[in-house]
Symmetry: C2
Subunit: 365 residues, 2 copies
């Protein structure tokens, strides 16, 4: 290997995940002298930092320098032009959750720029965008990795891809795919003892930072539906969109259109009985209720919502805000291959991104 | 990517795992037209099949043709010469458990031949061999992948490597690493109900094919010690050998040197009380006993043997012959990243090998 090998990296997004990623990138770049990882571009939606001659930015001070930068971000198509003209192979790291950036992937890939991202939007939007992304990658040879789009740094995507690529037949995927939902139901319907009232648990989860600013963005089930869409497509089902299969929303109809998350939380106690009834029904069968997603490959059925589980079931026994994903396959038989652990958080999400970057760089440099 | 890209593959070993691998390789080679995967050499300890001009062998009929072949295998150093002179990059797939083949890796790697293998010997033998292997790979750029050396096709090695390479600090690794031990203790000390007598469970496990021909080869704990050695080294501990830390053998001293596995099984019932006492002691604390391995990175302590676990602990709740591996790290905090599932069997072991081959080919071709 030539010591002169270089890879140019552009990073879009410098929020929670973005900052963790940059700190992991700094350590990685210091440790692995070859190929040399050059940070060539970094931007938020309002500011950017880059040099026209592609000279490398200092990774350690990038976030601070960005805050003081007077440069506006390049238009997305210009970012592609800039990277495509770099003196060596380039990787675009998209640490946003932006649909606009996601729409850019086919163009970037077709021009030889590899993509690494935790952004779910590109892989869980229209099936056409999915096809455009992977056909652009296939014809240019550029890579696209998105481990952290499901289960953060847990090896979920890579494991499913390995199963499929080595010729195993995945028959079913089932699990808890949302840290927020995991935390809520582990508290509301614990395997031992009594949980609190539903609205109180939601309020508590928000106070602890486990929900989005408006908890309805977790309770509508769409985040889980997006993750299921990605896994179903990797398992071979051409799922049209995350709204093309049944997704149970935990937002009471009457509160769907209240103006704010705060108003929602204020009015939620009036609807506690709905989930209390579901919990009581499960308890009568000696079970607990959990918010899960499942993919049945043979019947092509994907669904997201509440299900009852025996208290000894691994899904019931989950702790804290952990995710659990079970892969049932022909080779693994009746006992699934299970992956479990934290499925959210800046450091573990960034870890999935950094791990992907390492894999991409090992293939393109 | 050029359609003309080729990779040459040599396979040593055509037993249970080897046969499953060849069938997976056949499907893979048919599905992925580029790079073209050419089977150039296949051998057992007694026979071989190859063409001097490197023309590809038919993968589907290779096992049958090998049985009818009149060629003797090349000496191992000649296999290296043969592959090093191939018209394109080459991968040696070692599907044996041979120490001799393992000793060959540094030479092969130094000559640019990548290695893919489930063979534990190379990575769990002397620390010098480990160092020779990875320094040969680092200087030539050839790859060495061995996912199936721990937990068969479960993503154990790749996950640990990702944790370490992205800069996480692994503090502890703990788990059940032997399908045989898992099956024995899940039957002998189940979380619900009573298990059978120890000697009867060992006899039953052997009858069902869960043990080696001589069950002492499982009960001595060396197989688990080898796996722990590999994981400890990947986590950064320079473990000298699988006998350089405490390993509890479940073979009664008096039966260590009886002549055969059959004689061992015949005499084992006289020693049932030993394990019965351990089981009763655990039960008094409301626990069950399991055969586990653990690595504590901070104290540099590695050990293998019996431990007691609460009935609700994931290690206690394991089913059948499943493995479970928990990674405790700085980023994952108090709840570990857990991988669980079948850790033995031809198809899943071969799957780890095939998955590794795909990763190696994507980097070298």
């Amino acid at each position: 290997m030539s010591a002169a090998k270089q890879v140019y990296i552009a990073v879009i997004g410098a929020g929670g995940v973005g900052k963790c990623f940059l700190s992991q990138l700094q350590a990685l770049a210091a440790r692995k002298p070859s190929p040399k990882l050059n940070l060539a571009y970094i931007a938020t939606s309002r500011k950017a930092l880059f040099n026209d001659d592609y000279s490398a930015l200092d990774i350690g001070s990038a976030v601070d320098s960005l805050a003081g930068s007077s440069k506006s971000p390049l238009a997305l198509s210009q970012v592609v032009d800039y990277l495509a003209a770099a003196p060596a192979k380039a990787v675009l790291v998209d640490n946003t959750s932006s649909q606009d950036v996601a729409e850019l992937y086919p163009l970037a890939l077709s021009r030889g720029i590899s993509i690494v991202t935790p952004n779910k939007k590109a892989f869980s939007g229209s099936y056409k965008l999915w096809q455009d992304i992977f056909s652009a990658a296939a014809s240019s040879g550029a890579k696209v990795y998105h481990e952290s789009s499901v289960g953060a740094g847990l090896p979920v995507i890579s494991t499913l891809k390995d199963l499929v690529e080595t010729g195993d037949k995945v028959t079913k995927v089932e699990g808890v795919f949302s840290g927020t939902m995991s935390f809520l139901f582990n508290s509301f319907a614990p395997t031992e003892g009594q949980g609190g009232k539903w609205s109180a648990e939601v309020k508590n989860a928000k106070a602890l930072g486990y929900t989005e600013p408006d908890p309805r963005d977790d309770l509508n089930g769409l985040d889980v539906a997006r993750k299921l869409t990605i896994l179903a497509r990797l398992a071979g089902l051409p799922v049209e969109s995350p709204t093309s299969f049944p997704v149970q929303s935990l937002i009471p109809k009457e509160l769907e259109s209240v103006a704010s998350g705060d108003e929602f939380l204020e009015k939620l106690p009036a609807f506690d009985q709905q989930l209390e009834d579901i919990k009581a029904e499960a308890e009568k069968e000696g079970k607990v209720v959990r918010f899960v997603g499942s993919i049945d490959v043979a019947t092509k059925s994907v669904k997201v919502g509440l299900e009852k589980f025996d208290r000894s079931h691994p899904i019931a026994a989950l702790k804290g805000s952990d995710n659990i994903i079970s892969f049932y396959t022909e080779r693994y038989g009746s006992n699934p291959l299970i992956i479990q652990g934290a499925g959210a958080g800046g450091e573990v999400t960034a870890m999935g991104v950094t791990g992907d970057l390492i894999k991409v760089v090992s293939q393109i440099a």
